[in-house]
Symmetry: C2
Subunit: 211 residues, 2 copies
Amino acid sequence: MIAGFGRVGQIVARLLRARGLAATVLDLDPSTIDLMRRIGLKAYYGDATRLELLHAAGCAKAKVFVLAIDDVEKSIELAELVRRNFPHLKIIARVRNRPHYYRLRKLGVETVIRETFASSLEMGVEALRALGFGAHTALRSARNFRAHDEAAIERLAAIAGKGDDAFFAEARRAYEEIERLMVEGDHADARDAGWDDSTLREEVLRRSKVS
Amino acid sequence: MIAGFGRVGQIVARLLRARGLAATVLDLDPSTIDLMRRIGLKAYYGDATRLELLHAAGCAKAKVFVLAIDDVEKSIELAELVRRNFPHLKIIARVRNRPHYYRLRKLGVETVIRETFASSLEMGVEALRALGFGAHTALRSARNFRAHDEAAIERLAAIAGKGDDAFFAEARRAYEEIERLMVEGDHADARDAGWDDSTLREEVLRRSKVS
């Protein structure tokens, strides 16, 4: 079951189909009917936040609900509806930004994926490589950054809404800590990985302004 | 040099900073000034499509131009301006969708990253796992899908604009081919990787409706 057949829902549906799994798709926009038919998907048109539509589409028997709509308020409304009426369904949600992330996590949605986060890291990796870092170093940096950032956003989700001052103080602290942890992680890595070209890296750090 | 300090530009800047590299950021929105100052970035406000601003910010000496603005027309305008005036600059661009991708590739931008593509694949991997596929199989599927899809979009970029009929015929063909290649790839993988749980996979394929 996939709600939303835009840029995100289409890729999810095509990946599943390539594994032999035909998703049922819910979408508001009748202009996507051709595309869905062309790739042989079951489609239900209409506002997915109407409970009858969810029943008609078969939510009671589904296992996974991919929440791929881009509108933040609709996404939250739909997550609430699914949580309340189909508590067995595992929700995998696309989120636009951090506030959206916090709100879905508060509703108990476990798998929450920031829609531009992975691509942003890929752009960062490309930038590091263009500035002279090796592929391994650039990828490892992005992986470390991601791990720290995902831990931080989970901590922030737990305190979101509990007063802005405490929240922003924690956000600042989290950002600073990520940089500190990454620098420490680099030193630990450097001891373990003799083959990594730290001389090149240092040279790049000295010379580069990124800019 | 990073143009655009929204969801994407911020992650790129923070990743670079965690590697000791302080980016120069161009953004139209003065409300981001606090955030940029807080993380110690050089910032230039104003319309990045004005050539004077690019000069003032130091494009002539920069190596990499991260094009992270979300507005499609502005992005294309800026890519043209940078290509024409600073041909030495490597552009790493965020794109919203396929038409945006094709247009930047036609301008000669080499590194073009679809802003929701990687996250969509991650959602697909989570969905496959929730449906009973092993982590290895799910990740391998996404990796294969990505490789095929990126090859296909490059072929499509080369013929984009050359008459809609030919283009859509090729797009349909490309989508079908991706599914065929993935099924063939699976068989090849299955021969090589005896440890992968193909029995479980087949059972999931039989039982599951995804939905």
